[in-house]
């Protein structure tokens, strides 16, 4: 638009204003130091829009990165309705899009304004920063000064923006650098850490290795020591079969020095010639197939020594696996000693086994029963004979004790004997007793029982040798009966013989007496009487009478011979015999004899004849005591009974005159007799007989008339 030129004052004023504006614009950078792009632009736009009273000023900035834009607007005050940035953007868009240079100078109908002058300014040399578009509807817009101010302001802004972008770029770089540095530092630090760790690891590995080495050294030394000190031969060999190690024990055993054999083939050194081929073949096969009959096991072989001896050895060969070819280690032991010992041991073992077998067969095949019990009497073992005898199997017996199978009556005796055995009072005992068989029947056995003391390995036990004596006992009982019958017969015979011999002995002088006395009478009857002859014959008579007396005395002494003929007999039977002998005499004397003999009287051990004499004595005395009794029955009672204390007692009770206190004391004195024709052996002899039988003889007054004479003798114990 052509404009009128200004007056000089107005010009000066104008210029002054321009300079002020320039000064202000030039001062702007100070305000946006360190500011952001928008601050810079914003400040610039603010300043410009007011300074130049623009209608608007629009800035479009390229974003860092280059493709995006941001824009900013400052709008003057002279608008009816102020446009927003979008409107302006929209309006300017087409031109800005293509080429900012082509922004028209004047635009008509720009947002309600009839005509608007636009001036684009490039930010940056090639609008790379952005574009500013100033717009005013003043006709004289833009004056030179305005254009100048705008240029400078835009340049300032551009510089500022550049600086800012540089700064931010710098900052970015710096921060990037920082970041990078930090990153790097971090990386380095991390790496450092890694390195440190690695070093530490390496150190520890080294440490470990060092330790291992030491250990290895130690164990090497140890191993060497083992090898050297080993009593077993250790021979190592390589894959070719050459000796690589030969320890001192091997040196000793085989008689080679190590240096002499290392490198040589094992086969040639210690394998006997006869086995070499087999060895080589086996070795070759192993190397080829990996199989071996000797690896990994102990085998017995023969080995050759330096002096040519072949010795039995035990070998264990192991293979050492390594990279490369294998090597082998052999552990050998000279077992000659062991072989010898084995032989001896086998022999001993065989002997022991034979002995064991023998004793077992003794046990099994023994002709009599053998049974073992523990110390409580519980069965441990019983041989077949014993089992058969009892009818129990050995398993059944193991549930029982010996008392369980002993009949009740015999248990006490059994227990007593066993107790004595266990207390050590006896070493062994014999007992005849009865067992009860499984089927309930009884068997008589004769047991020999002993105790076997315990040792550390074996507890003590009782051993019984048990013989079935049932048959023998039956036979014995029969025999006893027969024997007692025989004895009885013998006794009777002896008695009669005795009597006969007594008669004979006495009859000799008696005969003389009768003859002489007869002669004497005849001589006196002669005419004239033969007095001398009579005297002589009378003398002879007296003499013979004395002789007869002596004979009797002698016989009585014979009767009382000190030594007893011992036998086990039944007192009842003996008493009955005496009674039988006395019956006629007693009947003659009108004595009523009664016998009360105990049913089961135990046997006694003694001289049967002498005891019978005692009984006879007592019976005769009893009878004699009643010889003057006429007012009452002449009762004679013979009684036998069992004493408490295990003795048998015989008593003869009469109803006679009783015992006078005067004669009581003298009753048992020797030679005391109240009888004129004492033919009995007398109470003193009776007593001495009884006492010789460990018994006693005594007398008591009856409650009624008469007296009772008693003797007791111990009964025999059954063995």
């Amino acid at each position: 638009m052509p404009v009128e030129p200004e007056s000089p004052t107005a010009e000066i004023r104008h210029l002054r204003r321009c300079i002020n504006d320039l000064v202000s614009v030039l001062a702007l950078p100070a305000t946006w130091t360190g500011g952001t792009a928008s601050q810079i632009v914003g400040a610039s736009l603010d300043a410009l829009v007011s300074m130049l009273s623009l209608d608007f000023i629009y800035a479009r900035l390229r974003e860092p990165g280059g493709t995006e834009f941001s824009d900013m607007v400052r709008v003057g005050s002279n608008w009816e309705s102020k446009p927003g940035p979008e409107e302006l953007r929209e309006k300017l868009q087409p031109w800005l899009e293509n080429d900012p240079e082509k922004v028209p100078a004047v635009v008509r109908n720009f947002l309600g304004k009839p005509a608007l002058t636009l001036i684009p300014f490039q930010l940056g040399l090639h609008a790379e920063i952005g574009v500013i578009v100033a717009g005013s509807q003043r006709a004289d817009f833009p004056q030179q000064t305005e254009r100048l101010v705008l240029n400078i302001a835009v340049n300032q802004a551009a510089i500022g923006l550049q600086e800012s972008s540089l700064l931010s770029a710098q900052r970015r770089v710096a921060s990037e650098l920082d970041r990078r540095v930090a990153q790097r530092t971090a990386e380095l630090a991390a790496v450092n850490e890694e390195l440190k760790k690695e070093i530490a690891e390496r150190k520890s590995v080294e440490e470990r290795l060092r330790k291992e080495e030491t250990e290895l050294k130690g164990s090497e030394a140890h191993k060497a020591a083992i090898l050297n000190s080993s009593l077993d031969c250790i021979v190592a060999m390589d894959h070719e079969g050459r000796i690589t190690e030969f320890n001192p024990a091997a040196e000793r055993t085989f008689g080679y020095g190590r240096e002499n054999v290392v490198g040589k083939h094992l086969a040639d050194v210690i394998v006997p010639p006869s086995l070499r081929e087999k060895h080589r073949a086996g070795f070759a096969r192993h190397l080829a197939t990996g199989k071996s009959q000797v690896l990994g096991r102990r085998v017995e072989m023969t080995a050759l020594c330096a002096d040519g001896r072949e010795i039995p050895v035990e070998i264990a060969i192991t293979r050492i696996l390594r990279d490369g070819p294998p090597s082998f280690t052999g552990f050998l032991r000279d077992i000659s000693e062991r072989k010898r010992n084995e032989g001896a041991l086998l022999e001993t073992h065989a002997k022991l086994a034979r002995s064991e077998e023998r004793w077992r067969s003794v046990f099994e095949n023994s002709a009599i029963g053998v049974a073992l019990t523990d110390l409580n009497g519980q069965f441990i073992a019983a041989n077949p004979v014993y089992q058969k005898m009892l009818g129990y199997t050995d398993e059944e017996l193991e549930q029982l004790s010996f008392l369980d199978i002993t009949v009740d009556e015999d248990r006490d005796l059994s227990s007593v004997h066993t107790a004595e055995l266990l207390e050590g009072k006896r070493r062994q005992f014999q007992i005849e007793k009865r067992y009860r068989r499984k089927n309930g029947s009884t068997v008589w056995v004769r047991n020999s029982v002993s105790v076997v003391s315990g040792t550390e390995q074996l507890p003590g036990f009782l051993m019984a040798l048990s013989e079935d004596v049932t048959e023998r006992r039956i036979a014995e009982e029969a025999l006893n009966e027969t024997r007692s019958e025989l004895a009885h017969m013998a006794r009777v015979t002896t008695l009669s013989t005795l009597t006969a011999s007594i008669a004979h002995e006495v009859n000799q002088p008696l005969s003389g007496i009768v003859t002489n006395a007869s002669t004497c009478l005849r001589m006196l009857d002669a005419n004239p009487p033969n007095v001398d002859g009579a005297r002589e014959t009378a003398r002879r008579t007296i003499r013979d009478g004395n002789r007869a007396s002596e004979v009797i005395t002698r016989l009585r002494a014979l009767f009382n011979k000190k030594d007893l003929t011992l036998e086990v007999f039944d007192l009842n039977e003996a008493a009955k015999e005496v009674v039988a002998l006395s019956v006629s005499e007693l009947q003659r004397n009108r004595v009523i004899l009664q016998a009360d003999l105990a049913a089961e009287l135990p046997s006694v051990l003694g001289d049967r004849i002498q005891i019978q004499q005692v009984i006879l004595n007592l019976i005769r005395n009893g009878s004699d005591a009643m010889s003057i009794v006429n007012d009452r029955a002449r009762d004679l009672l013979i009684k036998t009974e069992c004493d408490e204390g295990g003795a048998v007692r015989l008593s003869v009770k009469d109803s006679g005159v009783g015992i006078d206190s005067e004669i009581e004391k003298k009753l048992f004195e020797a030679f005391h007799t109240t009888k004129n024709d004492g033919m009995g052996i007398g109470l003193s002899v009776s007593r001495s007989i009884v006492e010789r039988h460990q018994g006693r003889l005594w007398a008591i007054r009856n409650e009624g008339p008469g007296a009772t004479f008693l003797f007791s003798i111990p009964c025999s114990t059954n063995t």
Partner: protein
């Protein structure tokens, strides 16, 4: 003692007494004399046989059981020797079998000691057939 010769008759018979018991040998001769016999005593059968007087004896009074030869043996021996002397046995043994045997063997008498004088006299009379 009266001699038989003084009476002027038959000589009194001679009796042999054989017994190992002294009291018998001592007492019997006197009793026999009272009976009117003469006697000779011998302590054993052997002594009697050795004496050689058997033929003179009219009777033999003998014990049965003696040491050495018994009375029975003596009886047998006399028979063997052909002496027919009647024998009277005197014995202390009361044994029926002995008695029977004695009688079987032809003994005239068998007397048990102590025997009465009359019993002996009876046996002697039988032996000498004087009954």
């Amino acid at each position: 003692m009266k001699s038989l010769d003084e009476g002027g008759g038959v000589p009194r018979p001679l009796v042999a007494v054989v017994d190992d018991d002294e009291s018998v040998r001592e007492s019997l001769p006197d009793l026999l004399r009272e009976f009117g016999f003469r006697s000779k005593v011998f302590s054993s059968a052997e002594e009697f046989l050795a004496s050689g007087t058997a033929s003179q004896m009219k009777c033999l009074v003998s014990d049965v059981v003696m040491l050495g030869m018994t009375g029975f043996d003596l009886q047998q021996e006399l028979k063997v020797r052909g002496h027919k002397i009647p024998v009277i046995f005197i014995t202390a043994r009361k044994d029926e079998t002995v008695r029977r045997r004695a009688l079987e063997q032809g003994a005239v008498g068998f007397l048990l000691k102590p025997f009465s004088d009359t019993a002996l006299l009876g046996a002697l009379n039988i032996a000498l057939g004087l009954d």
